[in-house]
Amino acid sequence: MTDSQAASATDDVAALVALAARGDVNAFERLYARSAGRVYAVCVRMTGDPQRAKEYTHDAFVRAWERLSTFRGEAAFETWMHRLAVNVVLTATRGDRRREARLVPTPDEKMAETAAFGRPDRDVETRIDLERAIAALPARAREVFVLHDVEGYRHEEIADRLELQASSVRAQLHRARQLIMRMLNR
């Protein structure tokens, strides 16, 4: 994308946000079309559950609709939506911290298929196995792994969002990677 195309796309998003903030649902649908894949990806990976991911994606967009007037354009709309979605997931799972460790992958055909057909990729088999392995992680380890290794958050940011010590984040991340590698026979 050239600079002018990027600039034009940014202006266009600003226009859509302005319209949607005034109640134009069709404009909001276009914003949804642009950012839903990103939002659903982080929800489905953080929860490991397509049904819950669908609910959280739904909640994130409804919340975005309610708060459009607070979007100032200081970040890309997609980035704003992504942060909102992470908040939705973490708020929802805050009361659900204790779960049994699941070391055996529970094949979820639907999620794997959805992940597989999201975009062309160089190694489909590895990706499906990795997605399944992530889904099978214990909840807290999965959240940390997705935020750090998939989404690129730093330890300190994750500690802040999850209300943990940085050392706990490191420990969970290391544990997640170890479990994943075991599941992938690495």
Binding site: S8, D12, L19, R30, A33, P120
Partner: protein
Amino acid sequence: MMRIPVLALILSCTTVAPLAAQQKVDVRRAVTRDVYVRLNGAFSSLKVRGWDKDSLLLTGTLPKDARLEGGVGGTSTAPATGAKFYVEAPATMNATGSLELYVPAGATVWAKSGSATIDVTGITGGLDLNVVGGAIAVNGNPRELNIESMDGVVGVVGAPTWMRIKTASGNIAVNGSCTDLGITTVSGIVTVRDGSFERTRIESVTGNVTFGAGVSRAGTLLIDSHSGTIELQIGKASLDIEATTITGSITNSVTTRRPTPGREGRGEELTLSLGSGEARATLRSFKGNIKLTR
């Protein structure tokens, strides 16, 4: 409803000049490249043309008793970012106005009328077109295209990035490509040809559906129909196909594989993998037949 910013809506030029039973329309104004234009009311024909000028031109003719309201926003010195036009005609009059709208190619145009012909060429921004009857024809590559019609026919030639077409009984013909396509019709006949489509979903109740275009690598095609026939023209596509009909039949003219009886011995099912099977097609019908052809 869109609010035009700044002080007041301004009709920048003389808009109407009585001319026997007709009146001429002429609105010209400097606008931004991504101007948002809203146009609805009683007109029977609307041509929209994207051009490379930073200005808007609305021209054409309206019946003498019709009124053109609204205008272009902004001040007299800065290009406008929005425009809104409404054509009001007496209730007893059939809409006969004929309008032409020229806007920068990157504009977003929203147009709505009862029974009208809307013809769009050269728009690369957004389009939102809504009729009850008549016809909508779009040529070009708008970034976003939303079309809603009751029985108006719809024809699209080009490569919109995102496209949604909804009719009740209007036929739909799409020739070109699209990244994200959604088609919904009750009884319209749907034809999709040429080009390549990445994510496609087509829903019909009784209308027949023919898909004769390509599916992108790792793309998805989903066609649901209650009683309309679904025909998938495969060409050289590399596809994993899953076809299910509850009480209809499946015909496979592409390979020798035969469908198997469906659940409880009714209907038929067929699973097929062609080429490297990198894309996926799911065809589901209640009582319509499904055909796989070259």
